[in-house]
């Protein structure tokens, strides 16, 4: 079920999620799983590869309805999603890709968004003319242009080089700080989680369940490199403890 809830608040209660395996048996992907995010809160889901993070996101954004449990989306259910792949329409320009997802966006808002993400000179380019880094920025621009109540990012910076990923992360921080939005980020990069999130959920191996809910009190803009390293060390200890 996907009822619309209090503005900006996300409630997830999953009892069970499994797939039918090719061999005929059932493959359990998610176990008992509950969490809630307040309006404007940024949470990161950190867990080993294949633990069911992407399945969880697909359930939350309404792409997978075959599960036991309940997901309550923010009030107007306006979603901004950044998939692992940019998923741009190759036959539409950068600007058209964004406008098709966000037809209500004003010219001023789009220009500001493109300027923040360094896309101003690429508005008329086709996705095939962009590097992967630029294509990921367009995917980010599309998600923000919607002015979502819930922003969902599925390993948005995977397969980028470290410098470019760091730059895109700081652009994301700037966008989230400028317009607070309830955000759920999936990553297995602990540094990324600590740099962006207010809360980090540590997930177990498949079938995934929440091992720990770690709040980060210090505002993300004020976090120093030493503090990020300290939080990271705490998380890594918890991961080692399993």
């Amino acid at each position: 079920m996907f009822p619309a809830g209090v503005s900006g608040r996300l409630d997830v209660h999953i009892k069970h999620k499994s797939y039918r395996a090719a061999s005929g048996g059932r493959l359990h992907v998610l176990g008992e799983f509950s969490f809630a995010l307040a309006n404007g809160e940024v949470a990161a889901l950190v867990g080993p590869s294949g633990c069911g993070k992407t399945t969880l996101l697909r359930i939350i954004v309404g792409l997978d309805h075959k599960f036991e449990g309940r997901v309550q989306l923010p009030a107007h259910s306006r979603l901004g999603v950044v998939f692992q792949e940019p998923r741009l329409l190759p036959w539409r320009t950068v600007e058209e890709n964004v406008r098709l997802a966000a037809p209500q966006a004003s010219d001023t808002a789009l220009s500001a968004l493109f300027a923040t993400l360094g896309l101003a000179e690429h508005r008329c380019h086709y996705p095939g003319e962009l590097s992967l880094g630029l294509a990921r920025r367009v995917a980010l621009a599309r998600a923000f242009a919607v002015e979502p109540e819930l922003l969902v990012l599925d390993e948005p910076f995977v397969s980028l080089d470290a410098a470019l990923a760091a730059r895109l992360r700081s652009e994301l921080v700037e966008l989230v700080s400028r317009r607070p939005v309830t955000t759920l980020l999936v990553t297995h990069n602990i540094e990324e989680a600590v740099g962006l999130a207010d809360r980090v959920f540590l997930l177990s191996a498949s079938p995934a369940r929440v091992l720990a809910d770690l709040p980060i009190d210090r505002p993300r803009i004020a976090r120093t490199a030493d503090e990020v390293a300290a939080i990271r060390a705490v998380i890594e200890r918890r991961v080692d403890q399993g």
Binding site: V61, G62, L63, R78, L79, V81, F83, E85, R87, L89, P90, W91, R92, E96, L100, A101, A102, Y126, G128, E129, R142, V146
Partner: protein
């Protein structure tokens, strides 16, 4: 270079035609200039333009009907498994039914009318369009579909900006093969049951054993179809694939 090769190829064809005419005789294969003269005479009398126009109108009508219906049915069958299973046996029957049978049955059931002729041609072309578009619909990118779902894109926007551009190569293939198939079937339809058109004129010329006139009409119509392919189909195809990055 490309143009030179084409010119050389056409010159070779004309030379072979000329030589063939001398070997088998002008009655069986008239010389190119005799056929050219016949085209000019038919054009001067106004018969060529009239018959070409009538045949082209039939081609346009049956082609449009077959493409429109074939796209809708092919898309539905490619997307909905239930519909695909339900309609597939019909499709196999239609695919294997000779065009001649469809034409004869259409004339028997509906009379020697314009609508029977156009319906028969459209029905002959329809299954190939359905099969081609169905393949395109099966190959639609699921990831783009999901993107359109999460961003709540409306039906029309999805169809126009997500689905149809993916189907464009399949539609182009269906249009290309369809155009060449449709005009050949239209000629048979005209030969069997219409009082005008290129097919009718070829039928009359056949009864009079006038090979010059047969070749004159056939050649004139091939030129018209080549012009449509060069000045309409190819530019349209270039336009819809302008987003593809080409090597420098």
């Amino acid at each position: 270079m490309n143009l030179m090769l084409r010119a050389a190829s056409i010159a070779l064809l004309l030379a072979a035609w000329f030589a063939g005419s001398h070997i088998v005789g002008a009655r069986l294969l008239p010389e190119p200039q005799a056929v050219g003269l016949a085209i000019v005479q038919e054009a001067r009398s106004g018969a060529l333009a009239f018959n070409l126009g009538v045949t082209l109108a039939r081609v346009a009508a049956s082609f449009t009907i077959a493409m429109a219906l074939g796209t809708v049915i092919g898309l539905a069958m490619g997307r909905v498994v239930f519909l695909d299973r339900l309609a597939d046996p019909w499709l196999v029957v239609l695919l294997n039914l000779p065009a001649l049978v469809i034409i004869v049955l259409a004339y028997v059931w509906a009379g020697l009318t314009e609508s029977a002729a156009i319906a028969a041609v459209a029905l002959s072309k329809l299954p190939i369009t359905i099969v081609t578009v169905r393949e395109g619909a099966r190959a639609l990118d699921r990831m783009l579909d999901e993107m359109a779902t999460v961003f709540r894109m409306g039906m029309w926007i999805r169809l126009r900006h997500v689905v149809l551009p993916q189907l464009a190569p399949y539609l182009a293939a269906a249009a290309r093969s369809g155009l060449s198939l449709v005009w050949k079937i239209v000629l048979i339809v005209e030969l069997l049951g219409r009082p005008n058109g290129v097919g009718f004129e070829i039928g009359v010329a056949f009864q009079l054993f006038d090979v010059t006139r047969i070749l004159a009409y056939a050649l004139a119509f091939v030129v018209v179809m080549l012009a449509i392919e060069t000045f309409l189909v190819q530019p349209l195809e270039r336009n819809v694939s302008r987003w593809r990055v080409r090597p420098a």
